[in-house]
C-alpha cells in the first residue's frame, strides 16, 4: 500500500466510531428539515452547501419559526466561529500544501474530522502525506452525512425518538478526551471548559461552547506557564 492510501485509510478507520454517532444525527436532521418546511432538494443540498451539523439544525428550526434570512446567516456564522480555532490549530500541519488542497480540506473540516486528526498530528508530527489522513476522515464523514440525510428525508419522522444512538457521539468525544489528559494543565483545561459549558449553556447560538473552549484554553495555557 502506498504512503498516500495508508494515511487515507488510517483517517477513515479513525473516523468510523464517529460515523456511528453521526449517522443518526444526519437522519434526524433530514427528517427535521423536511418537517420544518424545507423542500426535499433544499434539505439534502444543505448537507453539502453548509455541511455543519449544528448549524443545519438551527437553520431548520429558524426556517420553521419563519426567522428572517439575515438572522439565520448570522446564527450560522456565530455557531461556526469555533472552526477558526480548528483552522488555527491545523494550520501549522497543512502549511506546505497547495491552495487547492487547503480549500478542499477546509471544506471538509468539521468537529468530527478535526478531533481525530489533531490527536493524530500531535502524536505523529508532520509527514509528507499526513494530509491524506484528514482527507480520509473528512471524506468518509461527508459521505455518511449525505447518505444519512437522504435516509432521514426518506423516512421522515418515522425514526423512533427512543433510540439512544445519539449517545455514541459524547462517548466518542470521551474516548478522545481521556488520552489527552496527560498533565495538570490539560486536566484543568478540560474541567474548567466543562464547567463553563454547563453554566453558560443557555447562552444563545451555542456561544456557551465558544466561551467554555476559550476559558479552558486560557486556563491550560496559564497553568503551563507557571509550572
Amino acid at each position: 500500500m502506498s504512503e498516500r492510501s495508508k494515511h487515507f485509510w488510517a483517517g477513515v478507520r479513525a473516523e468510523i466510531p464517529l460515523l456511528i454517532g453521526v449517522f443518526p444525527f444526519g437522519m434526524i436532521y433530514g427528517a427535521l428539515a423536511l418537517n420544518a418546511g424545507l423542500s426535499r432538494t433544499a434539505s439534502q443540498m444543505m448537507s453539502s452547501i453548509v455541511f455543519a451539523g449544528s448549524a443545519q439544525f438551527i437553520t431548520a428550526q429558524l426556517v420553521r419559526d419563519s426567522a428572517p434570512g439575515f438572522v439565520i446567516v448570522l446564527s450560522i456564522a456565530v455557531l461556526n466561529l469555533r472552526h477558526m480555532l480548528y483552522s488555527a490549530s491545523l494550520a501549522p500541519y497543512l502549511a506546505s500544501l497547495s491552495t487547492r488542497w487547503k480549500v478542499l480540506l477546509s471544506y471538509l473540516l468539521t468537529d468530527e474530522a478535526y478531533a481525530p486528526t489533531i490527536i493524530r498530528y500531535e502524536k505523529e508530527g508532520i509527514s509528507p502525506y499526513a494530509h491524506w489522513f484528514l482527507f480520509g476522515a473528512g471524506l468518509s464523514l461527508w459521505s455518511v452525512w449525505q447518505v444519512s440525510t437522504a435516509l432521514g428525508i426518506l423516512l421522515g419522522a418515522a425514526i423512533p425518538a427512543s433510540w439512544p444512538l445519539d449517545f455514541a457521539l459524547p462517548l466518542t468525544f470521551i474516548a478522545m478526551l481521556v488520552p489527552v489528559l496527560k498533565n495538570h494543565p490539560a486536566i484543568a483545561a478540560a474541567l474548567s471548559a466543562g464547567l463553563v459549558a454547563l453554566v453558560a449553556y443557555s447562552l444563545p447560538y451555542k456561544l456557551g461552547l465558544i466561551l467554555a473552549a476559550l476559558v479552558g484554553i486560557a486556563v491550560g495555557t496559564l497553568l503551563e506557564g507557571t509550572s
Partner: protein, 106 residues
C-alpha cells in the same frame, strides 16, 4: 431572503471560517506567537470537554445530578473504560451497554 441564498451565504461563511487561518497562518501573512502555539495544545481537551459536559450533566438545559441520570453514569463508565483501554470503539460499546443496562434494570 430566499432559502437558497441563505444556504449559500451560510455555506460561504462556514467555509471562510474553516479556511481563514489555514490560509493566513500558512502564507506567512502573520506568524503564530509562542503563547498562541502553546494555547493550541489545549484546544482539544477544552473543546471536547465543553461538548461532553452538557451531554452528561444537563437534561433539557437543567442540571441533572442524581443516580437517575443514566447518561452521566454511563459516561463515567466510559471514562474509566477509556482510561484503561485507550480504545475508542471499546469505550463506545461499554458506554452504550452501560446506558442500555441502566435503562433496562433501573
Amino acid at each position: 431572503m430566499n432559502i437558497w441564498l441563505v444556504m449559500l451565504l451560510g455555506g460561504l461563511i462556514t467555509f471562510g471560517l474553516r479556511f481563514s487561518l489555514i490560509y493566513l497562518l500558512a502564507e506567512g501573512r502573520f506568524h503564530i506567537p509562542e503563547t498562541l502555539r502553546r494555547a493550541l495544545h489545549y484546544v482539544p481537551p477544552a473543546v471536547l470537554s465543553a461538548l461532553i459536559f452538557p451531554e452528561l450533566f444537563l437534561k433539557e438545559g437543567m442540571l441533572h445530578l442524581s443516580l437517575g441520570n443514566f447518561r452521566l453514569l454511563a459516561g463515567l463508565v466510559a471514562i474509566v473504560v477509556a482510561g484503561f483501554s485507550k480504545n475508542t470503539l471499546i469505550t463506545i460499546i461499554a458506554g452504550m451497554i452501560a446506558l442500555f443496562l441502566l435503562e433496562l434494570f433501573l
